[in-house]
């Protein structure tokens, strides 16, 4: 039981500070001024209403709707109903001991290379309340990850992030299944326990942070929804930037007058508002070799959502050949059917990779697409046969286009281990991109 004494007495301030600290530990950015706002607000409401109390804290402390699930979970656990608080000291002590034992056991089970993962006690408590099936599944995933090729110590933070996301996912899923608040008997709310649902914002966060390669068929519909939402959001931003705004080379009257006052108001020097940048031309090159085709499919889905915002969009797939997919990707309709059609007629999907040959074909067959306004986005792990030829072609491409943005699904930590990555990174703007969140971030910053 985390709450100190009753809410209605002088412990309110203290409890509020403890509560906000827990929220901060869970990653919610809560400033001191917001805590002060919460305290001031509580003085304005009827504290006997639990609902009002909750709404007040939510309005003053939570400034992102995605954080509401997490807030509700912690609130229900922290501000448990009075009957929970009325349990005897013995029960409380026994419960605390049970919790401590479970947390200890969780710490022993969640390890990487024999060392415990860096998780907070709340996260360990969440893990301990998962069902045995869920715990086994998470352990199996960790074991599989641990025994992977080239998986060493630098991989630890990535694994920690995945485990944390998974715990958030389970917690949020459980919230969806729950109709009641805290469970009776002083046990942690079931909201802190296992059970994975879908559709919540935390669940979407989890899927956005998941390696695209690991996304299962069951999770695909929700992932597609996320991609659709993100690409729609980005499309709106791109379209807005393209509209002719007031800065499009108009006279800046204010600055002109101010600068010309010294000449008695006669305009000698006209000051202009800065012009906007010209719209770019996007050329997408997707590596659809066996190891890359899943990543490329997700990137294509994303770009399909942008097809109307990015008018000059060209899409190519490559493995040991180059194929133009522009017309298909620009079509309206279900991306499933479009991808199915592309894969069905394609001779490149699932083959080996010959980057050099593909770039050479691009240069010779589609020279009109390559100019200084073109941004080339390549989705590839850089693994290719004939690396020297690829580097030579990449260098030529780099001279002809505005820039090359390379989305590499390999984690940044692993780049040093691959000569091809280092060579390509020297010629392009390379970004690690194996999750949907990373894809959104990179594209939002570049388009």
């Amino acid at each position: 039981m985390l709450l100190k004494e009753n809410l209605s007495d002088s412990h309110l301030e203290e409890n509020l500070v403890i509560f906000t600290n827990i929220l901060r530990k869970e990653g919610l950015p809560i400033s001191s001024s917001e805590t002060m706002d919460a305290l001031q607000s509580l003085q304005k409401i009827d504290l006997s209403s639990r609902e009002n109390f909750k709404v007040t804290l939510q309005a003053t402390l939570i400034k992102n709707y995605r954080d509401r699930d997490l807030f509700n979970t912690i609130f229900d656990y922290f501000f448990a109903p009075p009957e929970v608080h009325n349990h005897g000291e013995e029960q409380t002590a026994a419960y605390k001991k049970r919790c401590a034992d479970k947390i200890k056991q969780a710490g022993n089970e969640l390890t990487f290379k024999g060392e415990p993962l860096q998780l907070t006690s709340t996260e360990l408590a969440q893990y301990s309340t998962l069902t045995s099936q869920q715990r086994e599944r998470l352990q199996a995933f960790m074991h599989k990850t641990e025994s992977g090729v080239n998986v060493n110590e630098p991989f630890r933070p990535i694994l920690e992030t995945v485990v944390k996301s998974h715990l958030r996912y389970c917690r949020s899923g459980n919230r969806q299944d729950e109709n009641t608040g805290s469970s009776p008997g002083g046990e942690p709310s079931k909201a802190m326990a296992g059970g994975c649902g879908s559709g919540s914002s935390a669940n979407q966060d989890y899927l956005s942070e998941m390696d695209m390669q690991s996304i299962t068929a069951r999770e695909l519909p929700e992932v597609e929804q996320i991609i659709q939402r993100l690409s729609k959001k980005l499309a709106v931003q791109i379209l807005r930037r393209r509209k002719k705004g007031p800065r499009s080379g108009l006279i800046d009257l204010r600055r002109s007058l101010r600068d010309n006052l010294r000449y008695g108001g006669i305009i000698f020097k006209i000051k202009y508002k800065p012009k906007r940048r010209d719209r770019e031309q996007i050329l997408l090159l997707c590596d659809v070799s066996a190891s890359m085709k899943k990543y490329s499919a997700f990137v294509l889905q994303f770009l399909h959502g942008l097809r109307e915002a990015v008018r000059d969009l060209s899409c190519f797939s490559f493995s040991d050949e180059l194929e133009n997919m522009t017309q298909e990707i620009k079509k309206r309709g279900s991306i499933h059917q479009i991808l199915e059609h592309v894969i069905h007629r394609s001779e490149t999907w699932g083959g080996g990779t010959n980057l050099g040959m593909s770039l050479q074909l691009l240069r010779t067959k589609y020279p009109d697409l390559l100019n200084r306004r073109t941004t080339v986005i390549v989705v590839s792990d850089t693994r290719t046969i004939a690396l020297d030829h690829a580097v030579d072609e990449l260098s030529r491409l780099s001279d002809r286009v505005g820039r090359i943005v390379w989305l590499n699904p390999l984690p940044r930590e692993q780049w040093v281990e691959h000569r091809s990555v280092q060579t390509v990174a020297a010629l392009t703007e390379m970004w690690p991109c194996n999750t949907i969140a990373q894809l959104d971030e990179v594209l939002a910053g570049r388009l």
Binding site: K44, V55, A59, I62, K63, N64, K232, G264
Partner: protein, 298 residues
């Protein structure tokens, strides 16, 4: 502003703004704390309407600043009346008087108030609605910090202008881009979702009194179902369902059916792609099923 929570709830009801208790409480707290209220939510859930209704409840003026990309302080805060300044310079020259001084030109009489300055200098507490703040540039968002935290603005030529009355500020955002932590920290936060079927029925009853009970329920059910369709580009807003209800009342309709929905589709689905999606995935038969389910479910 001596307004109790009960008064506020009553005010919302009288203004025909149907909202739950948590929304009313959040608005009440923003008024009590004199803090800005940031409202986020999908387009068409009633964010802007909140500002208008609040002005109505408080019997005060609504000052609206519509944000857009490229909005700067000359459009939002103040601008100098350049034509008048030039005239003054010219007049002085013709009269061969002493050269006009800069401080004479940058004085109150040449100042053009824009919404933010107008709200700050208002003698009676106004409601300042900063609409679609997510559409403005991050630089302008940072510029709002000073106003929203201290309710004062700095005009280089005149100095700092303090608010006569702290305005009730409502900021709305469609959440198209993430707002900065600094801005969020200065506001209380409210997320408005689309109404439940029951709430929407109440809204229709309040705003379209001529709508038959059955028709209101049918419209609310169909609208709720369409909003659940992930593939729709633009989900029907509350204003659109109200327009739809008004049109159906005008056509003397007492209930919906699949054919009628297909015929009046233009009123709720405003893009060709969405209409095609409706025809392909839902159609008249889908509407009949939705209405039947609603009827069976009471």
């Amino acid at each position: 502003m001596n307004l109790t929570l009960a008064d506020l709830k009553k005010g919302f009801k009288e203004a025909g703004y149907i909202c739950d208790d948590s929304t009313a409480l959040t608005v009440f707290l923003t008024l009590e704390l004199k803090k800005p209220l940031l409202i986020e939510g999908a387009p068409g859930v009633g964010k802007t309407e909140m500002g208008k209704v609040l002005a109505e409840i408080l019997h005060t003026a609504l000052i609206r600043l519509q944000c857009y990309e490229g909005l700067d302080e000359t459009k939002a805060l103040y601008e100098w009346n350049y034509q008048r300044q030039l005239l003054r310079i010219q007049m002085n020259r013709n009269l061969e008087e002493e050269q006009v001084k800069e401080e004479d030109l940058f004085s109150e009489q040449y100042l053009l108030e824009r919404p933010l300055l107008k709200a700050i200098r208002a003698l009676e507490t106004p409601v300042l609605l900063i609409d679609e703040v997510d559409k403005c540039d991050p630089e302008f968002e940072a510029f709002l910090f000073e106003i929203l935290s201290d309710f004062q603005v700095s005009i280089p030529e005149l100095g700092t202008v303090q608010a006569n009355q702290i305005p009730a500020v409502v900021l709305t955002s469609n959440n198209e881009r993430e707002l900065s932590d600094g801005l969020k920290r200065r506001c209380l936060y409210l997320y408005l979702d689309f109404p439940t079927v029951e709430e929407e029925v109440e809204i229709i009853r309040a705003k379209v009194p001529g709508a038959a009970d059955r028709l209101a329920w049918d419209i609310a059910r169909v609208a709720a179902n369409l909003r659940r369709q992930g593939d729709l580009r633009k989900k029907p807003s509350i204003a659109e369902t109200l327009d739809w209800a008004r049109a159906l009342v005008f056509l003397s309709k007492k209930r919906l059916d699949g054919k009628l929905v297909s015929e009046t589709l233009n009123l709720i689905l405003k893009t060709r792609a969405d209409q095609d999606f409706f025809k392909a995935e839902i159609g008249s038969q889908g509407i009949e099923d939705i209405l039947k389910q609603g009827k069976d479910g009471g």
